[in-house]
């Protein structure tokens, strides 16, 4: 098996200029390979840097040192050091990401938020919207909410919109940050089966799960920070 994601010597330090230049070292010398179709969970106490690691892979955080190489259309791209437009292309085709919290885009209906990653890939709008409907229905979002902005949704509803968006398009690598944290039993198991389907379709998964049982159900390998 060849890796699709290869992290070497990754470190992250924040300098808080607003607070006297305090430096916080969050990650030091992280090394990690993830194979195609493999599901790996990242564990560690709150504040340990799990979300930070996912953000570094996605390019939302800037690495302080080391490399994050991602296999993209058969070639390696180092996210730590890539041009913005290369990272955007990577996100469009290769890396999907379900954030810990939905960052609501004001005034945009849930259905469009979910369909957007497909539209960005030039999928026909009716196909994209069809897929978005399927996902929202599957995640038990009532149909009357589909055409509303998630701004007023409950935390669990927002999180399910977020998950639907993350699963709308196929990505060879899926980053999941506590995707089930605010969901009830029924919706949790739906998300777990969506993860299993994505893996069956070849996606590698890097996930943070609060719940140990879910983690074991969803992932076969574990890395502690």
């Amino acid at each position: 098996m060849t890796p699709v994601l290869s992290i070497e010597g990754l470190s992250k330090e924040f300098t808080l200029h607003q607070q006297g230049g305090t430096r916080i070292t969050v990650l030091e010398n992280v090394n990690l390979d993830v194979m195609a179709g493999e599901a790996m969970s990242i564990t560690g106490q709150s504040g340990r840097g799990k979300s930070t690691l996912l953000k570094l892979i996605y390019g939302s955080y800037k690495a302080s040192g080391g490399t994050v190489r991602v296999l993209h259309n058969g070639a390696w791209v180092n996210v730590a050091g890539a041009q913005p437009r290369d990272i955007l292309r990577l996100r469009q085709q290769t890396i999907g990401y379900v954030t810990q919290f939905l960052r609501v885009i004001p005034r945009i209906p849930a259905i469009d938020i979910v369909a957007e990653p497909l539209i960005d890939r030039d999928v026909a709008p009716d196909v994209a919207v069809g897929r978005a409907r399927d996902l929202l229905a599957r995640l038990n979002i009532p149909e009357k909410l589909w055409h509303l902005s998630p701004m007023t949704f409950s935390g669990g509803e927002q999180q399910r919109v977020n998950i639907a968006r993350g699963f709308a398009a196929h990505h060879p690598i899926l980053l999941l940050d506590e995707p089930t944290a605010s969901l009830d039993e029924e919706n949790r198991s739906r998300v777990l089966s969506m993860i299993a389907e994505a893996r069956a379709a070849g996606s590698a998964v890097v996930a943070v799960f609060h719940d140990e049982e879910e983690r074991r159900k969803a992932c076969e390998r574990e890395v502690a920070l």
């Binding site: 300098t15 808080l16 200029h17 607003q18 939302s60 437009r85 005034r107």
Partner: protein, 256 residues
């Protein structure tokens, strides 16, 4: 594929004062770049220098034409440059009065841009103008009214229609939502976001409002004292700002 716009070490001095200093970047097709920074940091100066409205003191601005030819702005004749700006570029001013011709009707404001690129058929000009007014959410029965009779938000939308009707490849905007009521701003932002995404436009937007940058741009450039101090993906700048000034800027908005 090559960069649409290449900026190389552009500086502009106003006598002894520095307008902007040593700015370099590339803009690729479909990219939306937001230039942010406090007032007086050189954002508008830089925008004017790269959009052919002002001559930089030094540095190069190169543009890659539809034919795939790279042209340097300062090496073009005035007529060539004007033709390029008319056909390939758009410019949305903060004050709509600067970007509109206030003395003619709304329809004429849109229609005369089409005529400038060679359209002569009156019926087609009128129907295209009508279509564009619709796209920017202006009722068709206002087509013959003067922009003086329009509200600030409507004028701004008319200015956008006037700029987009000729299908430019690149659009420059200077505080496009500045000076409007918050609710009017929101509607204009939604409209701009939809248009930019649907048309796959490349754009450079000057704004001091990080919410505008977050909603519209894919990349950001932060300026302070005439210099570019930080660049990166929009979400990266907002979530992990590096420079002291950028951290101050991001921390001073409640939630972006």
């Amino acid at each position: 594929m090559s960069a649409l716009l290449s900026i190389e070490r552009v500086s502009k001095n106003y006598g002894p004062r520095i307008g902007c200093s040593d700015a370099s970047f590339e803009l690729w097709p479909g990219e939306v770049l937001a230039i942010v920074g406090e007032s007086g940091s050189g954002k508008t100066t830089l925008l004017k220098c790269i959009s052919g409205q002002m001559e930089p003191t030094s540095g190069k601005v190169r543009y890659s034409t539809r034919a795939g030819r790279e042209v340097a702005l300062d090496a073009m004749s005035e007529a060539e440059r004007r033709f390029l700006i008319r056909t390939d570029w758009g410019f949305v001013h903060q004050d709509a009065r600067e970007g509109l011709r206030m003395g003619v009707s709304a329809g004429a404001n849109v229609g005369e841009r089409l005529m400038a690129v060679g359209e002569r058929h009156y019926g087609r000009i009128r129907s295209t103008a009508l279509d564009w007014l619709g796209r920017v959410e202006i009722a068709g029965d206002r087509i013959d009214d003067s922009p003086w009779s329009y509200s600030g938000g409507m004028r701004q939308r008319l200015q956008i229609a006037r700029n987009l009707v000729t299908a430019p490849r690149l659009i420059f905007m200077d505080e496009p939502t500045g000076g409007l009521d918050v609710s009017v701003q929101a509607r204009l932002l939604d409209l701009l976001r939809g248009l930019v995404r649907r048309l796959g436009l490349a754009a450079v937007i000057v704004t001091h409002d990080l919410a505008v940058a977050r909603l519209l741009s894919t990349r950001m450039m932060v300026m302070q004292g005439g210099r570019v101090i930080e660049t990166g993906l929009t979400d990266q700048i907002l979530e992990d700002p590096q420079q002291p000034y950028t951290q101050l800027l991001v921390s001073s908005v409640l939630q972006v």
